[in-house]
């Protein structure tokens, strides 16, 4: 399944988030970039919950902030300790 999606993406040259739900990059545990549009469900100092089409991503840590948020993606900074993925029913 994964291979076929990547092949499809290569052939039609569109961003991966158009096919997949989101794309996640982690930079040294202090910065995370999520490509793809997600809705913020919960924003607190220690928890950030973002809902995507198929999954919900939860970040746990201290001083979690959103540095940038647009329809293209979201940039999260702070001391991130744990990331949780929940499948939507």
């Amino acid at each position: 399944m994964k291979k076929s999606i990547l092949k499809f993406k290569r052939n039609i040259e569109i961003p991966i988030e158009a096919v997949k739900d989101f794309y996640l990059e982690i930079y040294s545990g202090n910065e995370v970039i999520l490509t793809g549009f997600g809705e913020i469900e919960k924003l607190e100092d220690a928890v950030l919950k973002i809902s995507f089409r198929t999954k919900t991503v939860i970040f746990y840590g201290n001083n979690i902030n959103i540095s940038n948020y647009s329809s293209d993606g979201i940039k999260i900074s702070g001391d991130i300790n744990k990331i949780e993925f929940l499948k939507k029913e």
């Binding site: 549009f37 809705e39 913020i40 469900e41 924003l43 607190e44 902030n65 959103i66 948020y69």
Partner: protein
């Protein structure tokens, strides 16, 4: 770098710090992102949301806040537009702003820089001097100059130039120069009849006569001043004519050279910085700061800098002069070092002065006299000893260039 550029752009566009108080903050920021409104940075503390947004987007987010039941409040306004609005009523700010605009406008009315391009043979200083004589100086009004007159004057003053073009753009005057390209001229030295005589004694080893009558042969020994090639030419009809004789006469002769190398050398070395002085030149007039014209400074280091105001070059040149004291050191060479250095000097001098000679043999004598290592070198060489000697005669004179 990107962060700095983004900050500058934000300052020019203007942005606001705001707070949103209410329960449904998450829904509010999702709305903003969905609708393409970017919030620069976020923090949330319990029911209070702190954010920064571009000034133009602030009005748009009001309706989203209302829909989410949030209360918006501006904490602080940042940016150029807000600074101007805040200070416009203050007389000092307003006066300063007007003064800067007027100052920049006035500065643009004067010539602050004169560039000369395209000159190779004629010095830039010479052209600038001619332009100055016609009143084209730094600090003068750019509109008062009659460019055609200056161009004509420079052309008249420098016959080596084929064209001069002056363009005055704002506060810069560009002088474009075109020089006359001269074709190489034929130089004729056949102006007088000459004999070829020996410039030095020796034994002729080769003789190539191009014009005139050969007077010696290969193997002949000649003394200085002996006739080698005669200007008097006798043709097969026994008719005598005078010519400008030309020949290469290679003879075996001797040559001498003496080299001296001092075994004790005095070297002057830059020591510590003693004093720094300045010369400020404003519109060609010089002002000295801490400068003693009669001072005995042996080593100077100068650094010239033109003062700029924003992008404009002002007619103010600051010359920084650093005065160093000088320390005298004496270096003593031993005999071996002196010998090596003296032979090195001899080799260099041979290269310089004997490049047109062929050395057959060399004999050297070495001695030490008055603290100097002396080498006396005697050579046997092959060299051209031909020397032209003009003659005066009533015999008809034939210029070979006229015939050709």
């Amino acid at each position: 770098m990107i962060i700095i550029i983004a900050s500058i752009a934000r300052y020019f566009l203007g942005y606001v710090d705001f707070t949103a108080i209410g329960a449904d903050i998450e829904k509010f920021i999702t709305f903003l992102a969905k609708n393409g409104i970017e919030i620069i940075s976020y923090t949330k503390k319990e029911y209070v949301f702190y954010g920064k947004i571009l000034a133009k987007d602030y009005l748009k987010i009001k309706r989203y806040a209302k829909r989410c039941g949030l209360k918006l409040k501006i904490r602080k306004k940042h940016g150029m537009i807000f600074d101007i609005r805040k200070n416009i009523n203050k007389i000092g700010f307003f006066t300063g702003l007007i003064f800067i605009i007027l100052f920049v406008y006035c500065m643009n009315m004067f010539i602050w820089q004169i560039n000369v391009t395209g000159n190779l043979k004629v010095e830039t200083e010479e052209i600038l001097k001619s332009a100055n004589e016609m009143g084209l100086l730094t600090g003068t009004l750019s509109k008062k100059h009659f460019v055609q007159n200056i161009e004509w004057y420079i052309l008249r003053k420098h016959p080596e130039l084929s064209s001069v073009e002056i363009n005055i753009q704002g506060s810069v005057a560009n002088i474009l120069i075109n020089e006359i390209k001269k074709e190489s001229e034929m130089v004729s030295d056949d102006d007088i009849p000459v004999n070829i005589v020996a410039g030095k004694y020796g034994v002729i080893r080769r003789i190539d006569v191009f014009d005139g009558q050969k007077a010696v042969n290969k193997g002949d020994a000649v003394m200085k001043g002996d006739l080698l090639v005669s200007a008097v030419y006798e043709d097969r009809h026994n008719k005598l004519t005078l010519k400008h004789a030309r020949a290469n006469v290679i003879a075996e002769t001797d040559y001498n050279m003496e080299i001296e190398f001092p075994l004790k050398e005095k070297i002057f070395k830059k020591n510590k910085l003693e004093k720094t002085t300045f010369i400020v030149s404003v519109l060609g007039k010089k002002y000295y700061f801490g400068y003693n014209k009669n001072g005995d400074y042996l080593s100077l280091k100068t650094n010239e800098k033109q003062i700029n105001f924003l992008w404009l070059k002002l007619p103010i040149i600051v010359t920084k002069i650093q005065h160093y004291s000088v320390k005298e050191n004496t270096i003593t060479h031993n005999l071996e070092e002196g010998r090596i250095e003296a032979f090195e000097l001899l080799r260099k001098k041979e290269k310089e002065t004997m490049s047109d000679m062929e050395i057959i043999s060399r004999k050297t004598e070495e001695k030490i006299k008055n603290g100097k290592y002396i080498i006396n070198a005697d050579y046997i060489v092959l060299m051209d000893i031909a020397e032209e000697q003009p003659i005066e005669s009533d015999v008809p004179w034939e210029n070979s260039d006229d015939i050709s």
